[in-house]
Protein backbone atom coordinates (compact mmCIF):
# COMPACT_ATOMS: atom_id res chain seq x y z
CA UNK A 1 0.00 0.00 0.00
CA UNK A 2 1.08 3.52 -0.74
CA UNK A 3 -0.86 5.97 1.33
CA UNK A 4 -1.00 9.14 3.26
CA UNK A 5 -1.82 8.19 6.82
CA UNK A 6 -2.79 10.32 9.74
CA UNK A 7 -0.54 10.72 12.75
CA UNK A 8 -2.36 9.92 15.97
CA UNK A 9 0.60 10.27 18.29
CA UNK A 10 4.26 11.07 17.84
CA UNK A 11 6.19 11.79 20.96
CA UNK A 12 9.32 11.18 22.91
CA UNK A 13 8.88 8.49 25.54
CA UNK A 14 11.06 7.72 28.52
CA UNK A 15 14.24 9.64 29.18
CA UNK A 16 14.54 12.43 26.60
CA UNK A 17 18.30 11.85 26.30
CA UNK A 18 17.59 8.36 24.94
CA UNK A 19 15.68 9.84 22.02
CA UNK A 20 13.08 7.12 21.73
CA UNK A 21 9.79 8.06 20.12
CA UNK A 22 6.47 6.35 19.75
CA UNK A 23 4.57 6.99 16.56
CA UNK A 24 0.99 5.85 16.17
CA UNK A 25 -0.53 5.93 12.69
CA UNK A 26 -4.10 5.53 11.63
CA UNK A 27 -5.00 3.59 8.53
CA UNK A 28 -6.06 0.47 6.73
CA UNK A 29 -2.49 -0.78 6.62
CA UNK A 30 -3.22 -2.10 10.12
CA UNK A 31 -5.76 -4.51 8.67
CA UNK A 32 -3.17 -6.46 6.76
CA UNK A 33 0.02 -5.82 8.75
CA UNK A 34 1.84 -8.83 10.19
CA UNK A 35 4.42 -8.96 12.98
CA UNK A 36 7.92 -8.51 11.58
CA UNK A 37 6.89 -6.33 8.67
CA UNK A 38 7.88 -2.72 8.28
CA UNK A 39 6.68 0.58 6.84
CA UNK A 40 8.73 2.69 4.46
CA UNK A 41 8.14 6.26 5.55
CA UNK A 42 8.74 9.54 3.77
CA UNK A 43 10.20 11.94 6.31
CA UNK A 44 10.35 15.12 4.22
CA UNK A 45 8.94 16.79 1.15
CA UNK A 46 12.31 17.94 -0.12
CA UNK A 47 15.05 15.87 -1.73
CA UNK A 48 17.40 16.30 1.16
CA UNK A 49 17.21 13.80 2.76
CA UNK A 50 16.12 11.92 -0.32
CA UNK A 51 15.11 8.45 0.77
CA UNK A 52 12.30 6.99 2.79
CA UNK A 53 13.11 5.43 6.16
CA UNK A 54 12.24 1.83 7.00
CA UNK A 55 10.72 1.36 10.46
CA UNK A 56 9.37 -1.84 11.95
CA UNK A 57 5.80 -2.30 12.92
CA UNK A 58 5.79 -2.68 16.71
CA UNK A 59 2.06 -2.76 17.34
CA UNK A 60 -0.98 -3.57 15.25
CA UNK A 61 -4.51 -2.71 16.29
CA UNK A 62 -6.80 -4.10 13.63
CA UNK A 63 -9.96 -2.82 15.28
CA UNK A 64 -8.89 0.75 15.72
CA UNK A 65 -6.89 0.50 12.47
CA UNK A 66 -3.76 1.74 14.15
CA UNK A 67 -0.12 0.87 13.74
CA UNK A 68 2.43 1.66 16.42
CA UNK A 69 6.09 2.25 15.67
CA UNK A 70 8.98 2.94 17.98
CA UNK A 71 11.97 4.77 16.64
CA UNK A 72 15.26 6.04 17.91
CA UNK A 73 16.43 9.53 16.97
CA UNK A 74 19.58 8.85 15.01
CA UNK A 75 20.25 11.22 12.13
CA UNK A 76 18.46 13.73 9.98
CA UNK A 77 15.72 11.43 8.80
CA UNK A 78 14.50 10.41 12.22
CA UNK A 79 14.92 14.00 13.34
CA UNK A 80 12.58 15.20 10.60
CA UNK A 81 10.15 12.47 11.59
CA UNK A 82 9.90 13.92 15.11
CA UNK A 83 8.51 17.12 13.57
CA UNK A 84 5.27 15.49 12.49
CA UNK A 85 2.41 16.36 14.79
CA UNK A 86 -0.93 14.85 15.65
CA UNK A 87 -3.24 14.98 12.63
CA UNK A 88 -0.42 15.65 10.17
CA UNK A 89 -0.26 13.19 7.29
CA UNK A 90 2.69 10.93 6.56
CA UNK A 91 3.33 9.11 3.30
CA UNK A 92 3.95 5.43 3.88
CA UNK A 93 4.58 2.37 1.76
CA UNK A 94 3.67 -0.85 3.42
CA UNK A 95 3.25 -3.09 5.29
CA UNK A 96 6.30 -4.50 3.53
CA UNK A 97 8.46 -7.57 3.78
CA UNK A 98 8.22 -10.97 5.39
CA UNK A 99 6.76 -11.79 8.78
CA UNK A 100 7.71 -13.74 11.87
CA UNK A 101 6.13 -17.15 12.21
CA UNK A 102 3.53 -16.86 14.97
CA UNK A 103 3.62 -20.09 16.97
CA UNK A 104 0.23 -21.39 18.07
CA UNK A 105 1.50 -23.52 20.92
CA UNK A 106 4.65 -24.41 22.82
CA UNK A 107 7.35 -21.99 23.91
CA UNK A 108 8.77 -18.93 22.21
CA UNK A 109 12.19 -17.57 23.03
CA UNK A 110 12.84 -13.98 21.98
CA UNK A 111 16.29 -12.44 21.93
CA UNK A 112 16.57 -8.69 21.45
CA UNK A 113 19.55 -6.37 21.24
CA UNK A 114 18.86 -2.69 21.84
CA UNK A 115 16.19 -1.25 19.60
CA UNK A 116 15.90 -4.72 18.07
CA UNK A 117 13.12 -5.14 20.60
CA UNK A 118 10.73 -3.05 18.52
CA UNK A 119 9.71 -5.55 15.84
CA UNK A 120 9.46 -8.21 18.56
CA UNK A 121 6.74 -6.19 20.29
CA UNK A 122 4.42 -6.93 17.40
CA UNK A 123 5.19 -10.62 17.68
CA UNK A 124 4.51 -10.66 21.41
CA UNK A 125 1.25 -8.90 20.73
CA UNK A 126 0.25 -11.51 18.16
CA UNK A 127 0.86 -14.44 20.46
CA UNK A 128 -1.91 -16.03 22.45
CA UNK A 129 -0.07 -16.28 25.75
CA UNK A 130 -2.60 -18.76 27.06
CA UNK A 131 -1.19 -21.20 24.55
CA UNK A 132 2.38 -20.06 24.05
CA UNK A 133 4.78 -19.19 26.82
CA UNK A 134 7.12 -16.33 25.89
CA UNK A 135 10.64 -15.96 27.25
CA UNK A 136 12.45 -12.76 26.41
CA UNK A 137 16.14 -11.99 26.70
CA UNK A 138 16.84 -8.34 26.13
CA UNK A 139 20.14 -6.56 26.24
CA UNK A 140 20.61 -2.80 26.26
CA UNK A 141 23.18 -0.15 27.03
CA UNK A 142 21.77 0.75 30.42
CA UNK A 143 18.61 0.98 32.45
CA UNK A 144 17.69 4.37 31.02
CA UNK A 145 17.62 2.97 27.53
CA UNK A 146 15.53 -0.04 28.53
CA UNK A 147 13.01 2.08 30.38
CA UNK A 148 12.77 4.46 27.44
CA UNK A 149 12.25 1.60 25.03
CA UNK A 150 9.17 0.68 27.04
CA UNK A 151 10.36 -1.96 29.48
CA UNK A 152 7.18 -1.31 31.42
CA UNK A 153 5.07 -2.51 28.52
CA UNK A 154 6.98 -5.76 28.56
CA UNK A 155 6.77 -6.25 32.27
CA UNK A 156 3.02 -5.76 32.06
CA UNK A 157 2.69 -8.06 29.09
CA UNK A 158 3.13 -11.20 31.11
CA UNK A 159 6.26 -12.18 29.26
CA UNK A 160 9.06 -13.84 31.19
CA UNK A 161 11.78 -11.17 30.84
CA UNK A 162 15.51 -11.44 31.49
CA UNK A 163 17.62 -8.33 31.11
CA UNK A 164 21.25 -7.57 30.51
CA UNK A 165 22.93 -4.17 30.35
CA UNK A 166 26.40 -3.20 29.30
CA UNK A 167 26.94 -1.17 32.48
CA UNK A 168 25.14 -3.52 34.84
CA UNK A 169 22.56 -0.89 35.76
CA UNK A 170 19.85 -3.52 35.35
CA UNK A 171 20.00 -7.30 35.23
CA UNK A 172 23.07 -9.18 34.09
CA UNK A 173 26.12 -7.05 33.32
CA UNK A 174 27.22 -7.98 29.84
CA UNK A 175 25.78 -9.23 26.60
CA UNK A 176 22.36 -10.61 25.94
CA UNK A 177 24.05 -13.61 24.35
CA UNK A 178 25.53 -14.35 27.79
CA UNK A 179 21.97 -14.79 29.00
CA UNK A 180 21.22 -17.00 26.03
CA UNK A 181 24.31 -19.14 26.63
CA UNK A 182 23.38 -19.51 30.26
CA UNK A 183 19.87 -20.48 29.34
CA UNK A 184 20.78 -23.21 26.89
CA UNK A 185 23.14 -24.70 29.45
CA UNK A 186 20.44 -24.70 32.07
CA UNK A 187 18.77 -28.03 32.68
CA UNK A 188 15.30 -26.53 32.50
CA UNK A 189 16.05 -25.96 28.87
CA UNK A 190 15.35 -29.55 28.18
CA UNK A 191 11.81 -29.08 29.34
CA UNK A 192 11.42 -26.07 27.10
CA UNK A 193 12.79 -27.93 24.13
CA UNK A 194 10.40 -30.77 24.63
CA UNK A 195 7.66 -28.21 24.50
CA UNK A 196 8.33 -27.16 20.90
CA UNK A 197 10.69 -24.29 21.57
CA UNK A 198 11.14 -21.84 18.72
CA UNK A 199 12.94 -18.53 18.77
CA UNK A 200 13.17 -15.15 17.10
CA UNK A 201 15.77 -12.44 17.38
CA UNK A 202 16.45 -8.88 16.30
CA UNK A 203 19.40 -6.63 17.02
CA UNK A 204 22.82 -5.66 15.72
CA UNK A 205 24.44 -7.99 13.22
CA UNK A 206 27.15 -9.25 15.60
CA UNK A 207 24.60 -10.11 18.24
CA UNK A 208 22.41 -11.90 15.69
CA UNK A 209 25.32 -13.89 14.43
CA UNK A 210 26.26 -15.01 17.94
CA UNK A 211 22.63 -15.78 18.71
CA UNK A 212 22.30 -17.84 15.54
CA UNK A 213 25.34 -19.87 16.46
CA UNK A 214 24.05 -20.69 19.90
CA UNK A 215 20.55 -21.50 18.73
CA UNK A 216 21.64 -23.61 15.81
CA UNK A 217 24.16 -25.49 17.96
CA UNK A 218 21.33 -26.25 20.30
CA UNK A 219 18.80 -27.15 17.66
CA UNK A 220 16.52 -24.26 18.44
CA UNK A 221 14.82 -23.02 15.28
CA UNK A 222 15.51 -19.31 14.98
CA UNK A 223 14.11 -16.52 12.90
CA UNK A 224 16.08 -13.29 12.67
CA UNK A 225 14.99 -9.88 11.54
CA UNK A 226 17.81 -8.26 9.57
CA UNK A 227 18.54 -4.63 8.88
CA UNK A 228 20.10 -3.24 5.76
CA UNK A 229 20.26 0.18 4.13
CA UNK A 230 17.28 0.51 1.82
CA UNK A 231 16.26 2.62 -1.12
CA UNK A 232 13.10 1.24 -2.75
CA UNK A 233 11.90 -1.00 0.09
CA UNK A 234 10.03 -3.26 -2.32
CA UNK A 235 12.68 -5.32 -4.09
CA UNK A 236 13.36 -3.22 -7.16
CA UNK A 237 16.83 -1.74 -6.54
CA UNK A 238 18.80 -4.65 -5.08
CA UNK A 239 20.34 -2.27 -2.59
CA UNK A 240 19.49 -4.19 0.57
CA UNK A 241 20.55 -7.74 -0.02
CA UNK A 242 21.80 -10.31 2.43
CA UNK A 243 23.63 -13.49 1.55
CA UNK A 244 21.98 -16.86 2.06
CA UNK A 245 22.95 -20.46 1.42
CA UNK A 246 20.39 -22.39 -0.55
CA UNK A 247 19.40 -25.98 0.20
CA UNK A 248 21.81 -27.03 -2.54
CA UNK A 249 24.68 -25.28 -0.81
CA UNK A 250 25.04 -22.46 -3.33
CA UNK A 251 25.36 -18.93 -2.13
CA UNK A 252 22.64 -16.50 -3.20
CA UNK A 253 21.38 -13.04 -2.45
CA UNK A 254 18.01 -12.27 -0.98
CA UNK A 255 16.50 -8.86 -0.58
CA UNK A 256 16.04 -7.82 3.04
CA UNK A 257 13.08 -5.66 2.05
CA UNK A 258 11.27 -8.33 0.06
CA UNK A 259 12.25 -11.87 1.06
CA UNK A 260 13.14 -10.41 4.50
CA UNK A 261 13.48 -8.69 6.88
CA UNK A 262 12.66 -11.96 8.66
CA UNK A 263 14.81 -14.91 7.61
CA UNK A 264 15.42 -18.36 8.96
CA UNK A 265 18.73 -18.00 10.76
CA UNK A 266 20.12 -21.19 9.35
CA UNK A 267 20.06 -19.92 5.79
CA UNK A 268 21.86 -16.65 6.54
CA UNK A 269 25.55 -16.44 5.67
CA UNK A 270 26.80 -14.06 8.33
CA UNK A 271 30.26 -13.25 7.07
CA UNK A 272 29.73 -13.30 3.34
CA UNK A 273 33.00 -12.59 1.62
CA UNK A 274 31.35 -11.47 -1.56
Amino acid sequence: MYLKVRVIENRSIGHPAQGIFRLVLSGQAAKIAKPGQFLHIQVSDTYDPLLRRPLSIAGIDKNKEEITIYYKLLGRGTDLLTHFKENDYLSIMGPLGSEFTVPQQGELLLIAGGIGIFPLYSLIQAIDQEKVKIHLLWGGENIDFLESADLKYLVNSGVNVKISTMDGSLGHKGLVTDLLQEMVQDSSMIALRCNNLVSAACGPKGMLKATAEICLNNDIPLEVSLEERMACGIGACLGCVCTVRGADGTVKRKRVCKEGPVFRAKEVVWDAEC
Binding site: L50, E228, M230, C232, T243, K252
Partner: protein
Protein backbone atom coordinates in the same frame (compact mmCIF):
# COMPACT_ATOMS: atom_id res chain seq x y z
CA UNK B 1 -10.05 17.51 -23.58
CA UNK B 2 -6.96 15.34 -23.70
CA UNK B 3 -5.81 15.96 -27.20
CA UNK B 4 -2.07 15.99 -27.05
CA UNK B 5 -0.49 13.28 -29.13
CA UNK B 6 1.88 11.72 -26.63
CA UNK B 7 3.53 9.22 -28.94
CA UNK B 8 7.28 9.48 -29.09
CA UNK B 9 9.51 8.46 -31.92
CA UNK B 10 13.01 7.27 -31.22
CA UNK B 11 13.92 6.31 -34.74
CA UNK B 12 12.04 3.12 -35.41
CA UNK B 13 11.24 2.66 -31.72
CA UNK B 14 7.81 4.17 -31.16
CA UNK B 15 6.64 4.54 -27.57
CA UNK B 16 3.10 5.41 -26.66
CA UNK B 17 4.44 8.19 -24.50
CA UNK B 18 7.85 9.56 -23.54
CA UNK B 19 8.01 8.27 -19.97
CA UNK B 20 10.05 5.15 -19.32
CA UNK B 21 11.68 3.83 -16.15
CA UNK B 22 15.41 3.34 -15.69
CA UNK B 23 17.46 0.21 -15.57
CA UNK B 24 18.34 -0.97 -12.09
CA UNK B 25 15.68 1.11 -10.43
CA UNK B 26 12.63 -0.81 -11.60
CA UNK B 27 13.55 -4.43 -11.08
CA UNK B 28 11.93 -6.63 -13.70
CA UNK B 29 8.70 -4.71 -13.94
CA UNK B 30 6.71 -6.62 -11.34
CA UNK B 31 8.02 -5.04 -8.15
CA UNK B 32 6.30 -1.70 -8.71
CA UNK B 33 3.13 -3.24 -10.15
CA UNK B 34 1.18 -2.75 -6.91
CA UNK B 35 2.16 0.91 -6.85
CA UNK B 36 2.21 2.11 -10.42
CA UNK B 37 0.38 0.57 -13.38
CA UNK B 38 3.05 -0.11 -16.02
CA UNK B 39 0.40 -0.07 -18.72
CA UNK B 40 0.38 3.71 -18.34
CA UNK B 41 4.08 4.03 -19.06
CA UNK B 42 5.87 4.44 -22.35
CA UNK B 43 8.13 1.62 -21.33
CA UNK B 44 10.26 0.07 -18.65
CA UNK B 45 13.94 -0.80 -18.69
CA UNK B 46 14.95 -3.91 -16.82
CA UNK B 47 17.97 -4.44 -14.60
CA UNK B 48 21.25 -4.88 -16.48
CA UNK B 49 21.80 -8.45 -17.69
CA UNK B 50 25.22 -10.06 -18.03
CA UNK B 51 26.04 -13.37 -19.71
CA UNK B 52 26.53 -15.18 -16.40
CA UNK B 53 24.62 -14.69 -13.16
CA UNK B 54 26.25 -12.21 -10.77
CA UNK B 55 26.00 -11.84 -7.03
CA UNK B 56 26.99 -8.21 -7.32
CA UNK B 57 28.92 -6.34 -4.65
CA UNK B 58 28.83 -6.87 -0.90
CA UNK B 59 26.67 -4.65 1.29
CA UNK B 60 26.39 -1.82 2.19
CA UNK B 61 25.50 -0.97 -1.36
CA UNK B 62 23.64 2.26 -0.70
CA UNK B 63 24.52 5.60 0.77
CA UNK B 64 22.31 8.63 0.87
CA UNK B 65 23.85 11.96 -0.11
CA UNK B 66 22.35 15.46 -0.38
CA UNK B 67 19.52 15.10 -2.91
CA UNK B 68 21.28 12.02 -4.20
CA UNK B 69 21.91 8.33 -3.80
CA UNK B 70 25.13 6.39 -4.16
CA UNK B 71 24.76 2.76 -5.17
CA UNK B 72 27.19 -0.02 -5.77
CA UNK B 73 24.87 -2.88 -6.60
CA UNK B 74 27.51 -4.14 -8.97
CA UNK B 75 25.24 -5.61 -11.60
CA UNK B 76 23.65 -8.31 -9.51
CA UNK B 77 21.44 -10.18 -11.97
CA UNK B 78 20.25 -13.69 -12.74
CA UNK B 79 22.34 -13.99 -15.91
CA UNK B 80 21.25 -14.39 -19.51
CA UNK B 81 19.81 -17.89 -19.37
CA UNK B 82 17.77 -17.44 -16.24
CA UNK B 83 16.59 -14.06 -17.47
CA UNK B 84 15.37 -15.56 -20.73
CA UNK B 85 13.72 -18.51 -19.01
CA UNK B 86 12.16 -17.00 -15.94
CA UNK B 87 11.78 -13.28 -16.50
CA UNK B 88 11.28 -12.69 -20.20
CA UNK B 89 8.02 -14.66 -20.44
CA UNK B 90 6.53 -12.52 -17.67
CA UNK B 91 7.86 -9.32 -19.19
CA UNK B 92 6.26 -10.26 -22.51
CA UNK B 93 2.87 -10.15 -20.83
CA UNK B 94 3.26 -6.57 -19.69
CA UNK B 95 1.31 -3.97 -21.59
CA UNK B 96 4.28 -1.68 -22.11
CA UNK B 97 7.48 -1.49 -24.14
CA UNK B 98 10.24 -3.51 -22.49
CA UNK B 99 13.82 -2.34 -22.93
CA UNK B 100 16.45 -4.91 -22.02
CA UNK B 101 19.63 -3.46 -20.56
CA UNK B 102 22.80 -5.44 -21.23
CA UNK B 103 26.28 -5.24 -19.71
CA UNK B 104 29.44 -7.06 -20.50
CA UNK B 105 33.10 -7.32 -19.66
CA UNK B 106 34.39 -7.85 -23.17
CA UNK B 107 33.17 -7.25 -26.72
CA UNK B 108 32.44 -10.99 -26.85
CA UNK B 109 30.05 -10.64 -23.93
CA UNK B 110 28.20 -7.96 -25.83
CA UNK B 111 28.14 -10.07 -28.97
CA UNK B 112 26.66 -12.97 -27.04
CA UNK B 113 24.09 -10.81 -25.27
CA UNK B 114 23.06 -8.99 -28.44
CA UNK B 115 22.65 -12.17 -30.44
CA UNK B 116 20.38 -13.53 -27.69
CA UNK B 117 17.76 -10.81 -28.18
CA UNK B 118 15.96 -10.32 -31.48
CA UNK B 119 12.76 -8.82 -32.75
CA UNK B 120 11.19 -12.24 -32.81
CA UNK B 121 11.60 -12.45 -29.03
CA UNK B 122 8.17 -11.17 -28.19
CA UNK B 123 8.06 -8.59 -25.53
CA UNK B 124 11.31 -6.78 -26.23
CA UNK B 125 11.17 -3.34 -27.77
CA UNK B 126 14.85 -2.40 -27.71
CA UNK B 127 18.25 -3.21 -26.28
CA UNK B 128 19.98 -0.67 -24.09
CA UNK B 129 23.71 -1.18 -24.01
CA UNK B 130 25.22 -0.23 -20.69
CA UNK B 131 28.80 0.67 -21.46
CA UNK B 132 28.89 2.92 -18.50
CA UNK B 133 28.29 1.08 -15.29
CA UNK B 134 30.91 2.45 -12.92
CA UNK B 135 30.72 -0.47 -10.53
CA UNK B 136 32.64 -3.06 -12.45
CA UNK B 137 36.32 -3.07 -11.83
CA UNK B 138 37.36 -4.36 -15.20
CA UNK B 139 35.99 -3.39 -18.53
CA UNK B 140 32.63 -1.74 -17.93
CA UNK B 141 34.02 1.63 -17.06
CA UNK B 142 36.63 1.56 -19.80
CA UNK B 143 34.08 0.96 -22.57
CA UNK B 144 32.09 3.93 -21.37
CA UNK B 145 34.94 6.38 -21.16
CA UNK B 146 36.97 5.46 -24.20
CA UNK B 147 35.42 6.45 -27.55
CA UNK B 148 37.23 3.74 -29.47
CA UNK B 149 35.99 0.84 -27.36
CA UNK B 150 32.53 2.35 -27.01
CA UNK B 151 32.25 2.34 -30.77
CA UNK B 152 33.46 -1.25 -30.97
CA UNK B 153 30.99 -2.46 -28.40
CA UNK B 154 28.07 -0.78 -30.10
CA UNK B 155 29.20 -2.17 -33.43
CA UNK B 156 29.31 -5.67 -31.96
CA UNK B 157 25.82 -5.27 -30.58
CA UNK B 158 24.41 -3.74 -33.72
CA UNK B 159 25.78 -6.52 -35.88
CA UNK B 160 24.18 -9.20 -33.78
CA UNK B 161 20.67 -8.00 -33.16
CA UNK B 162 17.87 -6.59 -35.26
CA UNK B 163 16.40 -4.72 -32.30
CA UNK B 164 16.82 -0.96 -31.97
CA UNK B 165 20.07 -0.34 -30.11
CA UNK B 166 20.25 2.29 -27.39
CA UNK B 167 23.77 3.27 -26.33
CA UNK B 168 23.80 4.37 -22.70
CA UNK B 169 26.55 6.87 -21.98
CA UNK B 170 28.54 7.47 -18.84
CA UNK B 171 28.80 11.06 -17.58
CA UNK B 172 32.28 10.38 -16.19
CA UNK B 173 34.02 11.73 -19.24
CA UNK B 174 35.75 14.90 -20.27
CA UNK B 175 33.82 15.18 -23.51
CA UNK B 176 30.37 13.64 -23.75
CA UNK B 177 29.99 14.76 -27.35
CA UNK B 178 33.01 12.72 -28.38
CA UNK B 179 31.43 9.66 -26.78
CA UNK B 180 28.09 10.32 -28.44
CA UNK B 181 29.75 10.62 -31.83
CA UNK B 182 31.61 7.39 -31.22
CA UNK B 183 28.46 5.39 -30.52
CA UNK B 184 26.80 7.06 -33.50
CA UNK B 185 29.65 5.79 -35.67
CA UNK B 186 29.22 2.41 -34.03
CA UNK B 187 25.70 2.31 -35.39
CA UNK B 188 23.62 3.15 -32.32
CA UNK B 189 20.00 4.00 -33.11
CA UNK B 190 19.35 5.91 -29.94
CA UNK B 191 21.46 7.45 -27.19
CA UNK B 192 20.46 7.35 -23.53
CA UNK B 193 22.16 9.39 -20.85
CA UNK B 194 23.23 9.76 -18.17
CA UNK B 195 24.29 6.77 -16.17
CA UNK B 196 25.54 7.51 -12.66
CA UNK B 197 28.40 9.83 -11.68
CA UNK B 198 31.21 8.10 -9.86
CA UNK B 199 31.14 9.13 -6.22
CA UNK B 200 32.07 8.13 -2.71
CA UNK B 201 31.03 8.63 0.87
CA UNK B 202 33.06 7.99 4.01
CA UNK B 203 31.73 7.01 7.42
CA UNK B 204 33.48 9.32 9.84
CA UNK B 205 32.90 6.97 12.77
CA UNK B 206 34.40 3.85 11.22
CA UNK B 207 36.71 5.98 9.03
CA UNK B 208 36.00 3.65 6.13
CA UNK B 209 34.14 4.18 2.89
CA UNK B 210 30.43 3.74 3.51
CA UNK B 211 29.98 1.44 0.54
CA UNK B 212 31.64 -1.95 0.80
CA UNK B 213 32.82 -1.41 -2.76
CA UNK B 214 34.25 2.00 -1.76
CA UNK B 215 32.96 3.88 -4.79
CA UNK B 216 29.51 3.92 -6.26
CA UNK B 217 27.30 5.63 -8.75
CA UNK B 218 25.56 8.88 -7.86
CA UNK B 219 21.98 9.33 -9.04
CA UNK B 220 18.98 11.40 -8.07
CA UNK B 221 18.09 15.12 -8.21
CA UNK B 222 21.66 16.14 -7.31
CA UNK B 223 22.97 15.10 -10.74
CA UNK B 224 20.21 16.71 -12.78
CA UNK B 225 22.11 19.83 -13.88
CA UNK B 226 24.94 17.67 -15.20
CA UNK B 227 22.50 15.43 -17.04
CA UNK B 228 20.59 18.33 -18.61
CA UNK B 229 23.86 19.83 -19.77
CA UNK B 230 24.95 16.60 -21.41
CA UNK B 231 21.60 16.04 -23.13
CA UNK B 232 21.81 19.60 -24.44
CA UNK B 233 25.35 19.12 -25.72
CA UNK B 234 24.65 15.78 -27.37
CA UNK B 235 21.50 17.11 -29.03
CA UNK B 236 23.52 19.91 -30.60
CA UNK B 237 26.21 17.63 -31.92
CA UNK B 238 24.59 14.35 -32.87
CA UNK B 239 21.50 13.51 -34.90
CA UNK B 240 20.30 10.50 -32.89
CA UNK B 241 17.20 10.57 -30.71
CA UNK B 242 17.92 10.83 -27.01
CA UNK B 243 16.46 9.24 -23.90
CA UNK B 244 17.25 11.71 -21.14
CA UNK B 245 17.68 10.74 -17.52
CA UNK B 246 19.45 11.70 -14.34
CA UNK B 247 17.54 13.07 -11.38
CA UNK B 248 14.18 13.52 -13.04
CA UNK B 249 11.69 13.77 -10.20
CA UNK B 250 8.85 15.99 -11.37
CA UNK B 251 7.13 16.75 -14.65
CA UNK B 252 8.96 20.06 -14.68
CA UNK B 253 12.27 18.19 -14.66
CA UNK B 254 11.03 15.95 -17.47
CA UNK B 255 10.02 18.95 -19.58
CA UNK B 256 13.44 20.46 -18.93
CA UNK B 257 15.10 17.35 -20.43
CA UNK B 258 12.78 17.38 -23.42
CA UNK B 259 13.45 21.06 -24.10
CA UNK B 260 17.15 20.22 -23.86
CA UNK B 261 16.68 17.62 -26.58
CA UNK B 262 15.40 14.36 -25.10
CA UNK B 263 12.67 12.59 -27.08
CA UNK B 264 11.90 10.43 -24.07
CA UNK B 265 12.69 10.64 -20.37
CA UNK B 266 13.67 7.86 -18.04
CA UNK B 267 12.68 7.85 -14.39
CA UNK B 268 15.02 6.21 -11.91
CA UNK B 269 15.83 7.08 -8.33
CA UNK B 270 12.68 9.08 -7.68
CA UNK B 271 10.64 5.88 -7.90
CA UNK B 272 12.13 4.94 -4.54
CA UNK B 273 10.61 8.01 -2.98
CA UNK B 274 7.41 8.36 -4.96
CA UNK B 275 6.32 5.25 -6.85
CA UNK B 276 3.68 7.27 -8.64
CA UNK B 277 6.24 9.71 -9.98
CA UNK B 278 6.16 8.30 -13.54
CA UNK B 279 2.39 8.84 -13.69
CA UNK B 280 2.61 12.33 -12.22
CA UNK B 281 5.34 13.13 -14.69
CA UNK B 282 3.39 11.81 -17.64
CA UNK B 283 0.31 13.82 -16.68
CA UNK B 284 2.40 16.90 -16.10
CA UNK B 285 4.05 16.74 -19.50
CA UNK B 286 0.66 16.38 -21.17
CA UNK B 287 -0.76 19.28 -19.19
CA UNK B 288 2.23 21.42 -20.13
CA UNK B 289 1.74 20.70 -23.81
CA UNK B 290 -1.96 21.45 -23.52
CA UNK B 291 -1.40 24.76 -21.76
CA UNK B 292 1.29 25.81 -24.20
CA UNK B 293 -0.82 24.74 -27.16
CA UNK B 294 1.25 21.90 -28.56
CA UNK B 295 -0.61 19.19 -30.42
CA UNK B 296 2.15 16.66 -30.04
CA UNK B 297 4.68 16.09 -27.31
CA UNK B 298 7.28 15.75 -30.04
CA UNK B 299 7.04 19.49 -30.68
CA UNK B 300 8.79 20.40 -27.45
CA UNK B 301 11.89 18.30 -28.06
CA UNK B 302 14.97 20.51 -28.29
CA UNK B 303 13.13 23.82 -28.00
CA UNK B 304 15.77 25.25 -25.66
CA UNK B 305 18.20 25.40 -28.55
CA UNK B 306 18.35 28.49 -30.69
Amino acid sequence: MRNVDMRTELGELILRNPVVTSSGTYGFGEEYAPYCPVSILGGITVKGITPLPRLGNPVPRLAETPSGLLNSVGLENPGLVEFRNSYLPKLALLDTAVIVNISGFSPDDYTLLASSFQKKDTGIAALEVNISCPNIKHGGMAFGTNPRSAEEVIEAVKKNTDLPVIAKLSPNVTDIVEMAKAVESGGADIISLINTLLGMSIDIQTQKPLLANKMGGLSGPAVRPVAVRMVYQVYEAVGLPIVGMGGISTWQDAVEFMLAGASAVSIGTVNFVNPLAPVDILNGIEEYCLKKGYRSVREIVGLAHE
